[in-house]
Amino acid sequence: MSGHDAAVGHDHHGPAAHTYQPYPVRLGIVPLGLVIFLTSEISLFGAFFLWYGHARGLNNLAWPAIGYEIPADSTSINTAILIASSFTCELAFLSLMKNRRRGLFWWLVASFVLGAIFLGLQAREYHDIGFLPTTNAQGSIFFSLTGLHGAHVFIGLTLLLFCIIRVARGHFTPKRYTGLLVTSIYWHFVDIVWILLYTLVYLLPDKVA
């Protein structure tokens, strides 16, 4: 028995309850839980965006801080890489549906590598950007938002790694793929948050300027 059944979240039912069937949900019980959890992740980012929006919109925080620069242009490459990794992740899923094991494996590896490159580029950007979280409030919120996102990329990479290991062990079939579905939903979420973050933090011009 491999993987995790999409219909039954968890085989923790009693002897008498073996006949018990949960209400059918299209997503499956575990992905449903994940999607609900992701709304709370949106709120976590929302908390930092609320601070950011209040500080910039109502408290007239200069953005970026005077004398500093936020590298919108070079980060566009990171953005492209992360979006590409979302597509490769979906290609892995399509490969699974068509039962192409090698495609599944290598597209997952490609997503993992692209995600890792993204993290590496972010780390380099941190190094080159010229200010620290402690320099000023702009630095604090910049590093918090990108760092929070980076932590999510890291979690996504961990999930992808687990998926790669499990694919190598022959797990997942076109009918049993909960672990993979959960990972790809999470990975797309991380991607979407980045698009929002890139738009609001890197691209949004200062109203004074």
Binding site: S2, G9, D11, H12, A16, S43, G46, A47, H54, I165
Partner: protein
């Protein structure tokens, strides 16, 4: 020695300090490798505290066995069929283990939260004895601030929010006809975070208790003693616990209903919990965000709340209240559900306005997100936000009023059985209306500016949270006590508990309105002698209130042993949890129920909420 390797509290004893110390050493090693000029400076103890505690939490969870199934599953080890060895309580020891049975977790939750409740209450008694007289006597101002902050924090984050998760945990899968929650291991994990949060809050006394109140506004919180960091970590832990539970409740309610249990056949407690869980999931991360920011300011030296460096102090209040106002509904909506159950059963009448009550919960949850800034009328907030917030706050009274009206309609001309649970339920309506009405007053900007930060506000939210939430908690506990223990609770002691609570709590909180109107500020260790008289009354009544709780504790313990056997359904209730034995079987339903009608069809002859297919038929099916 094997006991230290199996997943249990004994293993926590060494895993927790091990993980904690390893992380601290690792952090120091990184610091050295990064080439800091000094290995140890003023900021380091704060950082070590944060790192040690956060990794300690993870260590504890590993020790208790939260990840024992997940780690092998993640890396793709072959699935082992669950042997159910972690499920159900066969002896008292099973309550101290990582247990996946929702009934065990419910009891664990309620007992833990009650320990927090009694501790928070004792803190209140201590500072009430200081406040009994004008002038300094019993405790000094620092201790007062510490106790006052702890009181609020414990009561909110480790009592009122999780106690409903506990009651819901026990009752909701039973009400739905489900064998357990949707994610039983996640359920156990979210419980075990709770005692940790409690310990983290309490241990802050050792390093200088936090003094910024439960709201933790900067700059008090960013400049306060080390305990403030523990406050911030404790909130994260308690918040993670309630988010995990809420996700679990939502998935359980969506997917784990018995056949025939359509949305409008669900008991109203389930509806209330649905709305609450949605609120928890969407709102709780905001307080996590707020506490991350203050913690970063303290531990890492970020400049979120340093105005000279571009920091925005007011934004903290926005982020904080964006959670903490919905939190008020998180603390009261499940209570509304409990009241709906009890009133209908105890007046032997169908609930009045089932859909109105169900939708008003959702309405409160939705509106609850649009009112947060009414806490900030006097904070120097943007002027244009005031009037919209005032109007939306007043609109909350509409769905709440619908509920009150429906409850009164339910008991109208009913055959009232005035058990202790019913006494608390009706007493709740009385006190909650007082709290609700002062809420509408406070929503109005000019009035709020007059009484802001006075005892009037203290009176208001204690009427809502004590007269509202705590009364419903007691109502629920008295109501489901026979289900949990299999024995009836002593009604005489219960009535004594109710009347001492009812009379003394009103004596405590009602005079606070007058003190507030006269201008006595809240959160002060000392006050002008002109406020002396009422403060004496309040303190005396507070001691009576505390003593009344002892009656409850005694009653719960003694009745569990000596109470009359309850039988499966002492109240002749229709909902599913009463159709199984008391206490319920380990796997809830020996025969899966089939729901055939609404849950409140009292007074209809022969009405049924659910039927259980004949055992012989069920047997044939399993054999086939």
């Amino acid at each position: 020695m094997r006991v230290f390797l199996r997943p249990n509290l004994a293993r926590c004893l060494w895993v927790t300090p091990f993980v904690s110390l390893t992380s601290m050493t690792l952090a120091l090693a990184i610091r050295k490798a990064a080439g800091y000029p000094q290995l140890w400076d003023d900021g380091v103890p704060q950082q070590m505290l944060a790192i040690g505690y956060i990794s300690g939490v993870i260590g504890f969870l590993i020790g208790i066995g939260s990840f024992d199934t997940w780690f092998p599953w993640m890396i793709g080890s072959p699935d082992r069929p669950d042997d159910h060895s972690q499920h159900g309580a066969y002896s008292w020891r099973d309550y101290f283990r990582f247990n996946t049975d929702h009934k065990v977790i419910g009891v664990q939750y309620v007992v833990t939260t009650f320990i927090a409740f009694l501790m928070g209450g004792m803190m209140a008694e201590i500072f009430r004895s200081e406040l009994a007289h004008s002038g300094q006597g019993v405790i000094d101002t620092k201790m007062f601030n510490g106790l006052m902050s702890q009181h609020g924090t414990l009561m909110i984050f480790t009592f009122l929010v999780p106690v409903f998760a506990g009651i819901g945990n026990f009752v909701i899968p039973l009400m739905l006809g489900a064998p357990d929650m949707a994610f039983p291991r996640l359920n156990a994990l979210s419980f075990w975070l709770l005692p940790l949060a409690l310990l983290i809050f309490l241990s802050s006394f050792l390093v200088g208790s936090f003094e910024a109140g439960w709201t933790g506004y900067p700059p008090f919180s960013t400049e306060g003693p080390m305990g403030e960091t523990l406050f911030e970590i404790g909130i994260q832990v308690a918040g993670a616990s309630s988010i995990a539970t809420a996700v679990n409740f939502l998935v359980t309610i969506i997917t784990m209903r018995a056949p025939g249990m359509t949305l409008f056949r669900m008991p109203l407690l389930v509806w209330a919990n649905l709305a609450t869980s949605a609120l928890v999931v969407a709102a709780t991360p905001f307080i996590a965000g707020a506490q991350f920011m203050t913690m970063f300011d303290r531990v890492m030296g970020t400049k979120f709340f340093v105005p000279e460096m571009g920091g925005d102090v007011l934004a903290y209040q926005h982020v904080f209240w964006f959670y903490s106002h919905p939190a008020v509904y998180i603390m009261v909506l499940p209570g509304f559900g409990i009241i709906s159950e009890i009133l209908s059963v105890m007046s032997r009448k169908p609930i009045f306005g089932y859909r109105a009550i169900a939708f008003s919960s959702a309405g409160i949850a939705l509106l609850g997100f649009s009112v947060w800034a009414h806490h900030m009328f006097a904070s120097g907030m943007e002027d244009w936000l005031r009037v919209p917030m005032m109007i939306s706050t007043m609109m909350i009274a509409i769905p709440t009023g619908i509920k009150i009206f429906s409850w009164l309609g339910t008991i109208w001309q009913g055959v009232l059985h005035m058990t202790t649970a019913m006494l608390f339920a009706t007493g709740f309506i009385f006190t909650f209306v007082i709290g609700g009405v002062t809420g509408i007053w406070l929503a109005s900007v000019p009035f709020d500016n007059h009484v802001h930060d006075t005892y009037f506000v203290v009176a208001h939210f204690h009427y809502v949270l004590f007269g509202g939430s705590v009364m419903t908690v007691f109502a629920g506990l008295y109501f489901w006590y026979p289900k949990v223990t299999g024995r009836m609770i002593n009604e005489k002691l219960g009535r004594a508990h109710f009347w001492t609570t009812m009379i003394s709590s009103n004596l405590v909180f009602m005079p606070m309105h007058w003190l507030g109107l006269e201008g006595m500020p809240r959160r002060v260790a000392d006050y002008d002698p002109q406020f002396q008289n009422w403060n004496e009354v309040i303190s005396l009544a507070a001691f009576v209130l505390g003593a009344g709780m002892l009656i409850f504790v005694y009653n719960v313990i003694v009745s569990a042993r000596h109470g009359a056997p309850a039988g499966p359904n002492p109240y002749r209730s229709l909902t599913l949890e009463w159709q199984v034995s008391s206490p319920p079987p380990i796997f809830n339903f020996d025969i899966p129920p089939r729901v055939v009608g609404g849950p409140y069809r009292y007074g209809e002859p022969g009405a049924k909420h659910a039927i259980f297919p004949e055992p012989s038929v069920a047997k044939e099916r399993t054999h086939a």
